[in-house]
């Protein structure tokens, strides 16, 4: 790929934007659960100690206190790791933030197996299932620095709870500064006529690489970055599959109850109907600790895994 290597991971880009915005937007506060040097929320804390609350290694208590402050009318950003925010504290998020639709914004780091090196206890591979299932919750997954900064802006501007899934490791830069991102939007990052790959977050890069592999095999691939997962851009996907007639959904998440399941249900229920479809995600398994790229490969989430799946889907399309 001809993309520029990213200097910083998306968690850092999101936090940097939070610090930038804090100068003019004086009314939001930040809650941390003792991983401020990992989520980079400490950058905000250094600037605004009076607006920064480190609540300790206590995700449930942190999220509950955030709910209390938000119930008072405050915008609260809660920082933490995806596994703990979305699973240990999920019931607090559900009943005390989503139900009363409070203005709590989650900076959720270590999404998917980008935290591969830390092992399964620190990999959020079910977070999208939990968060997209909660009524009133909006879900964003930026792929690069520019869209991560935009995710913070969208979160702050959107009433109610917003969850942003961010990555541990720096990958590549995709969008030029000043690119527009909106809640419910998507970006077609490569156009093609034979198959659509719908993806989000770090797998956007794997999908782009897969598209190169497929090109060499004569398959013309369209890649769409669904940086907004809830709500998501149904119009864009409908238009794309109307042209390509084949679809792969790829995500760094459990296949079950991920974006692929959402899309599959939509196709049949409200969308254009059945078409050759392949889903790439964790196959009802936990990953493991190790190098990020090797882990993607081992679990079939890398460019080769996506390309292989796409080839099979295109073959089915041709048979049909």
């Amino acid at each position: 790929m001809n993309l520029i290597k990213a200097k910083n991971p998306t968690r850092r880009a999101f936090a940097d934007r939070m610090v930038e915005r804090s100068e003019t937007d004086k009314d939001f506060v930040v809650f941390e659960s003792d991983i401020g040097y990992s989520t980079y929320s400490y950058l905000f804390g250094d600037k605004h100690p009076e607006r920064y609350f480190n609540m300790g290694i206590a995700e449930m208590g942190t999220v509950a206190a955030a709910a209390g402050m938000a119930a008072e009318g405050r915008n609260v950003v809660v920082c933490g790791y995806g596994v703990f925010l979305t699973m240990r504290a999920v019931e607090v998020v559900r009943s005390f933030i989503c139900y009363p639709k409070l203005n709590v914004k989650f900076l959720s780091s270590h999404g998917g197996v980008t935290a591969a090196i830390d092992g399964v206890t620190h990999q959020a591979t079910e977070d999208i299932a939990f968060m997209t299932t909660l009524p009133n919750m909006k879900v964003l997954v930026p792929a690069d620095s520019v869209s991560a900064a935009a995710a913070f802006d969208i979160a702050l501007a959107t009433p109610g709870p917003v969850f942003s899934r961010l990555m541990r490791d720096p990958l590549w830069e995709l969008y030029p500064a000043g690119t527009d991102f909106v809640l419910g939007g998507s970006k077609t990052v490569r156009t093609g006529g034979d198959i659509t790959i719908a993806t989000y977050g770090d797998l956007v890069f794997q999908a782009l690489e897969a598209a190169e592999t497929l090109k060499a095999k004569g398959i013309d691939t369209e890649v769409i970055d669904f940086y907004s997962l809830k709500p998501w851009d149904k119009k864009a996907l409908a238009a794309s599959v109307a042209r390509t007639g084949a679809l792969v959904v790829a995500e760094n998440h459990q296949k079950r109850n991920g974006f692929g399941y959402e899309v599959a249900a939509w196709l049949l229920e409200d969308g254009p109907g059945a078409l050759p479809l392949g889903l790439v995600g964790l196959e009802d398994t936990f990953a493991e600790s190790g190098d990020y790229f090797k882990t993607l490969t081992k679990f079939g989430l890398d460019a080769a895994g996506i390309a292989a799946k796409a080839e099979r889907v295109v073959a089915r399309k041709k048979k049909a």
């Binding site: 009076e50 509950a64 206190a65 709910a67 607090v92």
Partner: protein, 285 residues
């Protein structure tokens, strides 16, 4: 609706509150009987101090339920919401007649209280321990804005089993939330048995002290003691949150419900309802 004016002597204040507490108990039993569902026991044990808060000690205005300087009230033991609903209705936040919509479809009186549904409900509650955590956040906000109002959080003693309670307790102490007052309704009964046998938490006072809280205790059914203790809690200001352990009787005021485990979440029959009303003597049955 009860007028706001309160007498000046402690004795007269206690007498006035005792009358209101009877009305509260009647409304609790009445709404739970009418709904044939709900929690009488823990509502009745908390009736006296909730009455003292809403009709004497708390700075609230039913005409302005979202008034910024009001005292906040969080019923962390949310299943006891009949006591909260009764207090709000009698105090004039909404019509008393609405109490009989408890737990019904389209009602603002949900099975467990929801912040956005009813005027006067400051925080959603029902999942034990979380209301207390929210109260910490509300007190943090009050402190950030340099406000003088208090945040009152009502916890059950069984609720102390929840780990989040101790996360919140440590967080409140860290930030020196002297504007936060927790009342632990120590009736020693929870769903499955006595709090002492299900998960022993004594010594509760020493636990909160060890978490750097100021701790007071009171007889939850002696209105004078309730007034004096809670007033003391309001004045405490050495930078610590305050925990008041309210020694109470579950089901207080209805003889056959008192200290009976099974009255945690059971509605009275018609017969039992009649007897309860006679014993309470607070309203028209």
């Amino acid at each position: 609706m009860i007028e706001e004016k309160r007498p000046s002597s402690i004795q007269d204040r206690a007498e006035r509150l005792e009358k209101i507490a009877k009305e509260m108990r009647f409304r609790i039993v009445d709404m739970v009987h009418d709904a044939q569902s709900g929690h009488c026991g823990g509502s009745l044990s908390a009736s006296d101090f909730v009455t003292a808060l809403y009709f004497d000690l708390m700075n609230v205005d039913p005409a302005r339920p979202r008034w910024a300087d009001r005292d906040r009230f969080v019923l962390s033991k949310g299943h006891a919401c009949p006591v909260w609903y009764a207090a709000l209705a009698i105090r004039g936040y909404f019509p008393v007649e609405e109490l009989r919509t408890l737990r019904r479809n389209d009602s603002r009186l949900q099975g467990h209280p929801v912040a956005t549904y009813l005027p006067g409900i400051d925080a959603t509650a029902g999942s034990l321990g979380v209301g207390f955590g929210q109260a910490v956040g509300m007190a943090l906000e009050g402190k950030l804005m340099k406000k003088d109002h208090k945040v009152w959080a009502i916890l059950g003693d069984g609720e102390l089993d929840e780990g989040i309670v101790w996360e919140a307790a440590a967080q409140a102490a860290k930030f020196g939330l002297s504007n936060l007052i927790a009342i632990v309704d120590r009736n020693n009964l929870q769903n499955d048995g006595t709090a002492d046998e299900i998960l022993p938490m004594e010594p509760i006072d020493a636990k909160f002290r060890a978490f750097n809280w100021e701790v007071l205790t009171m007889d939850a059914h002696d209105m004078t003691d309730v007034l004096l203790t809670l007033e003391k809690a309001k004045l405490a200001s050495d930078g610590k949150p305050v925990c008041v352990i309210a020694r109470s009787v579950k089901g207080k005021g209805v003889s056959f419900m008192e200290n009976k485990r099974e009255w945690h979440g059971k509605p009275p029959s018609d017969e039992q309802y009649k007897q309860a009303c006679e014993e309470i003597g607070g309203g028209e049955a």
